[in-house]
């Protein structure tokens, strides 16, 4: 049975205004990602990787084209509908963690569960923290945690609702090699356990090769690469 795409982008473009004139960030992107797939997105700085992820998460609205994620046409949803869409479907891990500094680790993880109206929000959050090895640090504030610990909290927060899609934007970018590896292992373990679709934005070629597919973004356009040769090999337009 052919797998159905969970992410489907058609002719997606994004142009931002700037003092120096309009800047084309994305230029007519067409791509799709199947449910349960792991996809690595690579490309140089400023190529539009993070913007592409923002559009998939409904954090950014495209200037043109159609975005369908988990059966939702994002371009038609209001800001609040987009928030609900993320709550129900998407988990995001950022390079700079984006934890709320005045909330403890446990409280940070519990937020999406609470927003979903889960009565067991704190119990589940505690369980998730434990699963990322931070069961003992639940009452600590982000500034009392190391970078790796903060990213593990962010990861626990992203997956606690068992989202259909996990988007990770340079999750190891602010971490040392060993800690980064630990985070990546955790992400893939979670993917394996829940069959989550994983979209990984990274500079790390080795990391990208761990994914089922590798997509290169350059100058606002995407190219799919052969997984084994990525990122050296030239790909073809999707």
């Amino acid at each position: 049975m052919p797998q159905s795409p969970i992410v489907n982008l058609k002719s997606v473009s994004l142009t931002l205004k700037s003092d120096a004139g309009p800047v084309n960030i994305l230029r007519g992107i067409d791509m799709s990602i199947n449910a349960g797939e792991t996809v690595g997105i690579v490309g140089p700085s400023g190529s539009g990787k993070s913007t592409l992820m923002s559009i998939m998460a409904g954090l950014e609205r495209p200037s043109g084209g159609q975005v369908s994620v988990a059966g939702n046409s994002l371009e038609t949803l209001s800001e609040d509908d987009l928030a609900r869409f993320r709550r129900d479907n998407v988990g995001i891990v950022f390079q700079s963690f984006h934890l709320i500094p005045t909330m403890t680790a446990l409280e940070n993880v519990a937020i999406p569960l609470e927003l979903s109206g889960r009565a067991d929000a704190f119990a589940v959050a505690a369980e998730k923290l434990k699963s990322v090895g931070l069961g003992e640090r639940s009452s600590h504030y982000p500034s009392q945690l190391s970078g790796g610990e903060q990213q593990r909290v962010a990861l626990a927060r992203a997956v606690c609702t068992e989202p259909k899609i996990l988007l990770a934007d340079e999750p190891t970018g602010n971490l040392d090699g060993a800690t980064g590896e630990l985070i990546i292992d955790l992400m893939f373990q979670l993917h394996d356990a829940h069959d989550t679709t994983l979209v990984l934005i990274t500079h790390d070629d080795e990391l990208a090769r761990k994914c089922d597919r590798v997509i290169r973004v350059e100058d606002g356009r995407v190219t799919e690469l052969d997984r084994q040769d990525a990122p050296e090999l030239e790909g073809h337009e999707l």
Binding site: D80, F85, R87, F94, T102
Partner: protein
Amino acid sequence: MSSQAGSETFSLAVKYAFRELRGGLKGFRIFVACLVLGVAAIAGVGTLSSSISEGLRANGRVILGGDVDVRLTSRFASADEQHWLRSKGQVSEIQVLRAMVGAPASDQRLLSELKAVDSLYPLFGSLEQSSSQNPDTSFQALLANDKGDFGALVEPTLLDRLEVKIGDSLKIGGLRLEIRGVISSEPDKASQGMSLGPRVIISSSALQATGLVQPGSLLRYHYRLALNTQTTIADFREDAKLSMPDAGWRITDSSNGAPGIKRFVERVAMFLTLVGLTALIVGGVGVGNAVHAYLDGKISTIATMKCLGASSGLIFRIHYLQVLVLAFLGSIAGLILGVGLAIIASQFLASALPVPAIVTFQAGPLVLATAYGLLTATLFAIWPLARARETPAASLFRDVVAKRRWPRPFYLALVLVTFAALVALAILTVEEKVFAAGFVVAAIAIFFVLLLMGYLIQLGAKYAPKFRIPALRLAIANLHRPGAATASVVLSMGLGLTLFVTVALIEGNLREQVQDQLPENAPAFFFIDIQNNQLPDFVGTAQKIEGVSDVNHVPNLRGRIVKVNGIPAAQVNVASDVKWVLRGDRGLTYAKEIPVNATVVEGKWWPEDYQGAPLISLDQGAAVGMGIGIGDTLTVNVMGREVTATIANLREIDWSTLAINFVMVFDENTLAGAPHSHLATAKAGTDAEVRLFRTITKAFPNISVIRMKEALQTVSKILEQLSSAVTATASITLVAGVLVLAGAFAAGHRKRVYDAVILKVLGATRRDIFKTFLLEYAILGLITSLIAAGAGWLAAHTVITEILEAKWINLPYTVLGTIVISVCVTLLFGLLGSWRALGEKVAPVLRSD
């Protein structure tokens, strides 16, 4: 460190401080605004009151009507006394009494403040009047007997109330007079005390013809002197003691022409200054917050400087200097605003004051206000400054939740010294030190209670059960987050609201008691100057009127305590709340039996047929205040005769019934022979009131009738004006509280935006976030106002029941109103500060992070 090195470090600190100040006042707006407000309140009140006092002093001779005023009650000066007075300078005689004035044309009567003057009046200043006659005609000529009628000058209100005009007739006692002019300005009015009716001026000869001058009449004789050039006021006072030791007169001099007004102005100013200081302390919380926030923003600068070798001391000095410069600028702006407000307020007070309220430069209050401003800024800034100084550069980056370090002992001592200086300044610069100390202690107590409550709320929020409604849980959790505004809001709004509730409840209670809660058994009228031979007729006439009951009467004399246990009254130390007992003439009476609304609490009442040495029954409160009791003696000058009586018993008097009572009651044997009149009261229903007034004033023209409701209205009006001033000043405290609240919320704005964005990323809708903010601010406002309402209620209850010893009236709407206002203000400013956070787009914020 050598002194040279020390001065170098100081000059370096100055250089860096000013370099950093080049960045502008951004972040210090609330800091400066809080200081401006508090300093303005104190400077404004101080400037205005000092200007009034200065005006009273500069116009002392005009206000008093002479260099010296010698006052006798119910008797004129003897020939010897008059001879002695005339040897000291030019003497003008006036007589003052309350008397009924009738208008034959309209058949109306009313109580007036009657003043009979001689041909020398006024010795200083001028009386201005308008009449239908030649403007050059002197007012003395207008008062003279012209074709059988004496003339009278009246205040304009009398014309309205009696429905008469210039040229019409008036009847005072048994004399018919013609209204010949309207008084537009009376130079010595301020020295006359509280007025219960419009002023009527007649000549001394006319007064004699009215028949009102009877033995024991409540009439005051004033002898005003323009002293000879060789006689000083001090000489006069000294010579009076030596030459006329037994005169029993009261001497007032032009250095304090209107002592009552001066005392009133000084007391009001003291209270308002303390309220202003509270505003400054509330603002101090904002100062502390601003300094804290400023230093948070300077963390990397401080860290860099420390890395480059700056000492902790230098860091402290650089930033403290900045605080001082800003505090000084804020204080200067406050002084300018304060003087401006004083000028505006003086325009409103112009009609109520006896002297032109010309605001002049008063250095004292301005220096005091500046000192308050700088000390407050220092008090609240030292803590965050000292903590920043102590924090290692490396840990500055984790300040939000980093473990709070205590400042070094030196800085803690500095906080205590500054605090002590502020308290000392508040207490030592005023006359009523006990009151000021009480106020300061209460304010400090409330400050710490609020501080504690803020802490407890945060603790409660931290350990509160995790509610299933996410908005509620997040709202409660927001109350205890690191850097939450909870403590600041509870403290600043709480202190302002507590003061506001206290003032509103005290004012409301007094107003209700004076105006609306007239005791059911209170008399409708007081009748004064009833002569001995009129008494049976008066009582018979009053009792015959339908609806009139409880016609009570007592002998009424005036006397002044001149010695306590043989020591001159002036040398006796008494509590400030009973000073009035010794201050001048007091009403007194004699009785066989215990007065109805009093109980003997110590000693025994004398037998009905007592014939022994003079005995006196004294009010218990007065006795306690004077530190005397049973067996002690009081020497009272009654009508020029000194009577030394032994205190036989102490009475507890229920003044709240408004029935007749006296601080001093003599045994009958001692005073029955002295010339005196009677005082009576009567109760009457609304209809009977009119009949009683008309009948008595018609049948007994010499008897003055004071309608209780009108007298209370006069008191109520004074109270209202006073309460407006207090409320206005207390409002400044509230405004300061709102400023601090707005500042605290504004400081958290960036954090709010960030939180809102992350919550949106995680799936929260704007409605979810709005609900969270709404609940958080509502909970904060509600808790703060409940604490303030409770503390304010307690403070007001203590003042009313313990200090004023009055009945407490619950005013739930005042408290409820405060709670509603508090919640609304907190919601308004909280949501104003968070509104933008709701609409913030996610991507730009994340992109810029």
